[in-house]
């Protein structure tokens, strides 16, 4: 029961929905330790993605959809998160290549490539209080679930759970990348908005596989 284009497009639609629903929450998180635009940025981007989704030709592959998300986010989000999240989808598209169906190993490869894309552009490490703090635990949990014999839905659920925990775990941290790094100690006690949005997007991936 591998995942195909329907899963990818549902993932995208579900991402757009949850980002819109959590727009204000993400803005608030970013206002506390950043500049208050993260929810607006991603909502603008995913709204544009939804607009473009209709352009996908009949028989489009998962990689085509992921690339569409990438280029649309890069050209509409701006800020730090635009290039970072955009690159994540771009590298994810590269990882799935021309595959029509993604098995568990392909899903893990997709997530790993996405995370690596963010690191390539942003050079953040775990503990820097960035979206990487959601992505890296998610990738690790996905790989572990694959090793434990979980199916695609199980892998994505493990990733989403770990991402949520990772986002929560940014709260006590001092930031070393992005705008929040200017706050020093004062960032302590606030959740990183990018880690939170990443957790939402990964939960959307899981929900799309389960639903």
């Amino acid at each position: 029961m591998s995942l195909g284009i329907d899963w990818v497009t549902e993932w995208i639609r579900e991402s757009a929905r949850v980002i819109a629903d959590h727009r204000v929450e993400l803005i608030t998180l970013d206002r506390e330790i950043g500049d208050g635009d993260h929810g607006e940025n991603l909502d603008r981007g995913f709204s544009a993605v939804i607009q473009k989704l209709g352009d996908l030709p009949e028989g489009a592959l998962p990689g085509d959809a992921l690339k569409l998300v990438a280029t649309t986010l890069i050209s509409t989000v701006g800020g730090a998160s635009g290039p970072l999240v955009g690159t994540a989808y771009l590298k994810a598209a590269g990882a799935v290549g021309k595959a029509e169906q993604l098995d568990g190993a392909a899903v893990v490869a997709l997530l790993t490539a996405a995370r690596d894309g963010v690191v390539l552009r942003g050079k953040a490490e775990v503990g820097d209080k960035t979206m990487i703090d959601a992505w890296t635990p998610a990738v690790d949990a996905a790989a572990a679930a694959l090793a434990d014999g979980a199916d695609e839905a199980g892998i994505l659920a493990a990733a989403a759970d770990a991402a949520e925990q990772g986002a929560k775990a940014t709260e006590p941290l001092v930031a070393r990348k992005g705008r929040a790094s200017y706050l020093g100690e004062r960032a302590i006690g606030h959740r990183d908005p990018g880690s939170q949005s990443s957790a939402l997007i990964l939960r959307a991936a899981s929900d799309a596989a389960a639903g």
């Binding site: 803005i27 206002r31 506390e32 950043g34 500049d35 208050g36 635009d37 607006e40 940025n41 603008r44 890069i74 050209s75 509409t76 989000v77 701006g78 800020g79 730090a80 998160s81 635009g82 290039p83 970072l84 552009r121 942003g122 930031a175 070393r176 990348k177 992005g178 705008r179 790094s181 200017y182 706050l183 020093g184 004062r186």
Partner: protein, 333 residues
Amino acid sequence: MKKLINDPKNVVDEAARGIEAAHGDLVDVFYDPIYIVRKGAPVQGKVALVSGGGSGHEPLHGGFVGFGMLDAAVPGPVFTSPTPDPIVAATKAVDGGAGVLHIVKNYTGDVLNFETAADLASADDIEVRSVIINDDVAVKDSLYTAGRRGVAGTVLVEKIAGASAERLDDLETVTRIAQKVNDQTRSMGVALTPCVVPHAGEPSFTLADDEIEIGIGIHGEPGRERIKLEPADAIVDRLLGPILEDLPFASGDKVLLFVNGMGGTPQIELYIVFRRAAEVLKEKGVEVTRSLVGNFVTSLEMQGASITVLKLDDELTELWDAPVQTAALRWGR
């Protein structure tokens, strides 16, 4: 939130139309994506200067497009870096065959988006260099952060590098001069009140009635410390201390002193700040030979100010004095 706006989503577009209506003699404005170019661009054989970043810092950058300064400005959404698309479009629109210099404030978003744009423009055979502006000494321990921020010093880089390009210096020289201005500039700011991003609708941070934020960033990012309100002179001393130590500036230096308003500060207060800053520099034997006072790099309606000091030499002074004709900075023509 009380603002003279219509829909928060249209703020940047409508302001661009206002700029076009008011300054159609100086600039052309393009929409979808939005960017502003100098009238008559590209100037063949001249290095073109492109800058940009989130909106909300007006007159930066659109107010500095014109003769002797920027060839193009790319405004992103409020406080959000523009995406690569308009940066690429602007870069192509102003390339006059002598290369393009990107002047980028050091924020993760601006750096990443300009980086991508530069890659794309280079792929189209345009020679692009970048200078990253990071004049804000408020950020300590920049090894453990995203690095120092680009703030008010950006205007000085744009003016002086713009003059270099205008006299047809080559890309390498213009880049060197822009880098030199950045390297010799230090800034630090204070906020008395927060600003309100239109789409957020609420203040970017909160300060008690008797609190101020020392070392504020131009997007309302917090700074070094939050303290009780003090007299202007004491605040100036807090800002100027780290600035002077950092380069360091020394007795005998000639400098440009720039007091910048954050957007909501009465100009009378900027002059009170200038007075004290000039006084302190004089005591230290540093000579103020050029000056600038006003709202040039703002944070919407934030009340506060920043102090910028640029160490001058003959080369930079001559370029500073050269004619400039933009909406927000103009002399000599």
